[in-house]
């Protein structure tokens, strides 16, 4: 078991690298599969010093649910932003800054949350507070900044908390 941990310090990364190599080669053969697997073993071992406190993914079904929710939101976000850009006169638009107090503590989870906010409906993550306890978000058009804050906390942060912590 310990030998297995030495060879695969990061089993998900091994799997991901093998998969990405298949996609890069774009042709499934024993040759590419073996070489992808070889890279999947070597790269985690070589980069081990760079992730001393790597997060553990707690809840795999939640990861899939999160990806689906975000993909759906991206499509909705695109249509919503397109409507604002095309049909709403600039004077009628009310941009706003919103502060989101964070319950997440792990840097990886905050990075995923910030990236998600940028990709989804009318919001853009702009800055983190000095000690990383809140996130500054810019809204393209909102009447109610507090509703935006609650939705982000409820929809994304709650799920990320279950995944990472």
């Amino acid at each position: 078991m310990r030998l297995l941990r030495r060879i695969f310090p990061h089993p998900f990364l091994t799997l991901l690298l093998t998969l990405v190599w298949q996609l890069l080669v774009n042709d499934l053969s024993l040759n590419s599969l073996l070489f992808g697997f070889f890279l999947g073993i070597v790269i985690p071992v070589v980069t081990m010093p760079y992730w001393p406190n790597r997060p553990k993914l707690q809840n795999i079904p939640m990861v899939i649910e999160y990806i689906l929710v975000v993909l759906y939101d991206i499509v909705v976000a695109n249509i919503a932003v397109a409507r604002i850009v095309l049909f709403k006169p600039d004077a009628a638009r009310t941009p706003a800054w919103v502060r989101i107090p964070l319950e997440l503590r792990s840097p990886e989870a905050i990075a995923v949350l910030a990236g998600t906010i940028t990709m989804t409906p009318g919001t853009l993550s702009a800055d983190l507070s000095a000690k990383g306890h809140s996130l500054l978000v810019h809204c393209l058009d909102t009447d109610d900044p507090e509703a935006v804050r609650d939705e982000i906390k409820q929809r994304y942060e709650r799920r990320l908390k279950e995944i990472f912590e």
């Binding site: 996609l23 890069l24 080669v25 397109a82 638009r93 107090p101 853009l124 000690k131 500054l136 393209l140």
Partner: protein
């Protein structure tokens, strides 16, 4: 079957064309720098995404083999787009916003971009 495939491919190409256009148009039309960033970070996701889906469908229906390395482009786009948008936003805050013009940063007092140590020499340096 081939006709249905072509129809589907054209649909995704048209969708991506429309959203690509909206993204660039938004960059011109919106008035302030922060709002301008919304258009390219979002509309282009679906714009590029549409082309990639069309490309996957083309390989299935027309070339008769499965090609999925388009998914990697999507993956890389999802990683890079928020990071570059974040850089531009930080630049904007650094040059055009003061701690007073932004909302209160809660317990931490100040946003990270404004968390700079005062340097006496810096005042004399040319900008």
């Amino acid at each position: 079957m081939a006709f249905a495939g072509e129809l589907l491919i054209s649909f995704f190409l048209i969708v991506s064309g429309i959203f690509g256009f909206v993204g660039s148009f938004g960059l011109l039309k919106l008035s302030d720098p922060m709002s301008r960033m919304h258009a390219p970070t979002k509309a282009t996701t679906l714009g590029v995404g549409g082309v990639l889906i069309a490309s996957i469908l083309h390989s299935i229906f027309i070339e008769q083999h499965l090609s999925l390395h388009e998914l990697l482009i999507t993956l890389f786009l999802f990683i890079t787009a928020p990071v570059s948008a974040h850089f531009i936003a930080k630049w904007h805050i650094h040059r055009h916003e003061t701690p007073e013009s932004l909302p209160d940063a809660g317990d931490d007092g100040v946003w990270a971009t404004h968390d700079i140590e005062e340097d006496e020499d810096a005042a004399d340096m040319p900008r």
